[in-house]
């Protein structure tokens, strides 16, 4: 019984963390129409930022500043934000493919850099031994996992409320206006480039937060956790959930994470031994099929955007 409960707690904790990343992506794509192909890098920036800033001293590489946990978490988000700002400033004014390619490049380069720069990131073996706040104080790992579960859920709720407020604010309306019709927004005297950049940076910082929580949860981060393919998984969650709708984004995250763990479990349990080696391969095919299948047969996602502000929507009503 306790095994089932602790598994459920694990499942929901990770799903909540992933949901936060998907919400960040939804701000960028669903609400602003920005294509981020490098989600993994921004999650990674938050994770590495946190562990380096807030971790204990490490013998042979950077970090171990032991910063107060919330500050370290914020630090990770800022690292993600700076990374996003750098890429964004170069690509915001170009057609959307450039942003997709450049951000994908960030993810490849970030992972590559973390894998190779032993001095900064511990290289391929990553950074271990992050001291989780209150862990020593609580002592019992089960109670700690419940505590962290509550913390992750709280963060998810906070991010959700923040985003819901944001998209209903004038700024949020502006974002959607730009997504629908860039020239019209421009003619209102707004600078679409800088507004999109803000949304891009904000979304990436939310991904950074997810990364920080992820690294806290596992007390460990390595390049293996932030492979560029992670981006595809996060995208699958958003597409399944339905871009533009925050509740859908969260549902998509839970659903895909469920499919992922379930398929992993099923394969390890029922697949013949030779196929075990290919469990990851089969799971990735599944993710690919889900992405393509959704786009072909249900492009609006399972939980489509309700808030209709698009021009075509207006016209259809009139």
């Amino acid at each position: 019984m306790i095994g089932v409960i602790s598994y459920l707690i694990f499942f929901v904790t990770v799903a909540s963390i992933l949901s936060i990343a998907v919400l960040g992506l939804n701000l960028q794509w669903g609400n602003t129409g920005l294509f981020n192909g490098g989600v993994a890098a921004f999650i990674g920036a938050g994770a590495y930022g946190l562990v380096i800033l807030g971790g204990t001293a490490q013998p042979d590489h950077l970090g171990g500043y032991g910063l107060f946990y919330p500050l370290a978490l914020l630090g990770g988000m800022i690292v993600a934000g700076i990374l996003a700002w750098l890429v964004g400033i170069l690509t915001m004014r170009l057609r959307h493919d450039y942003l997709a390619i450049a951000t994908f490049g960030v993810a490849v380069a970030f992972e590559n850099f973390m894998r190779n720069s032993d001095k900064i990131s511990g290289g391929a073996k990553g950074i271990r031994g992050f001291e989780r706040p209150f862990e020593a104080f609580i002592g019992d790992p089960f109670y700690f996992s419940i505590g962290f579960f509550i913390f992750a859920m709280t963060m998810l709720v906070l991010v959700y409320i923040f985003l819901e407020k944001l998209i209903r604010s004038p700024f949020g309306r502006l974002l959607r206006a730009i997504r629908e019709d860039e020239t019209a927004a421009q003619s209102l005297g707004k600078n679409p480039g800088s507004i999109r950049l803000k949304a891009f940076v904000a979304g990436s910082m939310i991904m950074g937060l997810a990364g920080g929580l992820y690294a806290t949860f596992y007390a460990f981060i390595s390049p293996q956790d932030i492979l560029p393919t992670l981006t595809f998984q996060i995208w699958a969650m958003l597409i399944v959930g339905g871009a533009g709708n925050n509740k859908g984004a969260i549902a998509g995250a839970f659903l895909i994470w469920g499919v992922w763990t379930l398929s992993g479990w099923g394969l390890s349990r029922f697949a013949p031994l030779e196929a075990q080696l290919y469990a990851g391969t089969i799971q990735y095919i599944l993710i690919g099929v889900i992405i393509v299948g959704m786009l072909l047969w249900r492009p609006q996602g399972l939980f489509p955007e309700k808030l209709v502000v698009s021009q075509t929507g207006d016209r259809a009503q009139s």
């Binding site: 450039y98 590559n112 393509v292 786009l295």
Partner: protein
């Protein structure tokens, strides 16, 4: 140094062939196709299969050509792989991209290509295994061109470079001298006017995929010949190929050729100052540099 330059030219010729198809598709269908590099994998594996088949049916074909490690069987397989990969590209378009295009979700094409990349790459892993393969186990010794500085060149590398240049020359001839080439350029420049002059767009799109797929297949075989064949060829080459198209300017075929060489040479020359582990990140630095200095690339036009 010179060795790095030579290696860079070789890699560059492979990237150029990959980038030509990608830039054509990106320009015509207006989406960044993250699954284009998987066509290189399809080509490399298709050639592996037919190489094995030909050698088994006609053992005489399994002898290598002159000083090369390349056998006649593999040589023939290159062309079969080119055809099959072109057809695969058309098939993928018909099954996925075309339908999404027609539903009016143009922006979704990029995710669809994410999904297709995952599917193709992992299906190949599933079918052929994760381990690396080689076209031949024979070791061909490099020829020493000079002792100081030490410069080594393998006969296969010379063959690859000549073949790549040959394919590019054929493409150049077609584009600059034949009415068929003019139709391709016309569609690239102004699809609506092209239609008005009687060109059927869907036909040209199919032809573009065939050309892109065929060149990608040749690039994949050459990459496999020069390095090794594994299911992650696409994953490793997608960024350098994108970098080549951005350097050249999206839509410019000649830009893609030049961009391929620039990226190949730069990535190899970077190894003079950087540890080799960092080489996968170099294309990204090149992309950043181009976006900073000349966002539309060397030959690209401003298009929003």
């Amino acid at each position: 140094m010179i060795q790095h330059l030579l290696d860079g030219i070789l890699v560059g010729s492979i990237l150029s062939m990959g980038a030509i198809g990608l830039t054509m598709v990106m320009h015509m269908l207006r989406f960044a196709n993250f699954s284009h590099a998987e066509l290189l994998s399809i080509g490399a594996y298709a050639a592996l299969v037919f190489d094995g088949l030909f050698s088994a049916i006609l053992p005489a074909l399994a002898t290598s050509i002159g000083p090369l490690s390349l056998t006649w069987a593999l040589f023939l397989s290159i062309f079969i792989a080119m055809g099959l990969t072109g057809l695969s590209a058309v098939l993928i378009d018909m099954l996925v991209f075309k339908r999404i295009r027609e539903n009016g979700h143009e922006l979704s094409m990029v995710f669809a290509s994410f999904g297709m990349a995952l599917i193709v790459r992992n299906l190949i892993s599933l079918g052929f295994g994760l381990k690396t393969r080689l076209y031949t186990e024979d070791i061909v010794f490099a020829v020493r061109l000079s002792d100081d500085p030490l410069i080594l060149v393998k006969p296969d590398q010379v063959f690859v470079l000549i073949c790549a240049l040959f394919f590019m020359a054929v493409l150049h001839f077609v584009l600059s001298r034949t009415t068929f080439g003019y139709t391709l350029r016309a569609v690239a420049e102004n699809p609506t006017l092209a239609q008005v002059t009687g060109i059927r767009l869907s036909t040209v799109i199919v032809i573009t995929w065939i050309i892109g797929g065929a060149l990608a297949a040749a690039a994949g075989v050459f990459y496999g010949l020069n390095n090794q064949i594994n299911p992650v060829i696409g994953r490793d080459l997608v960024l350098p190929i994108f970098a080549a198209t951005i350097v050249g300017g999206i839509g410019s075929i000649y830009g893609a050729v030049l961009g391929g060489f620039i990226v190949g040479i730069a990535a190899n020359m970077a190894l003079v100052i950087l540890p080799s582990g960092y080489s996968p990140a170099v294309p990204f630095l090149i992309i950043l540099a181009v976006l900073l200095v000349r966002p539309n690339g060397l030959f690209g036009e401003e298009r929003t």
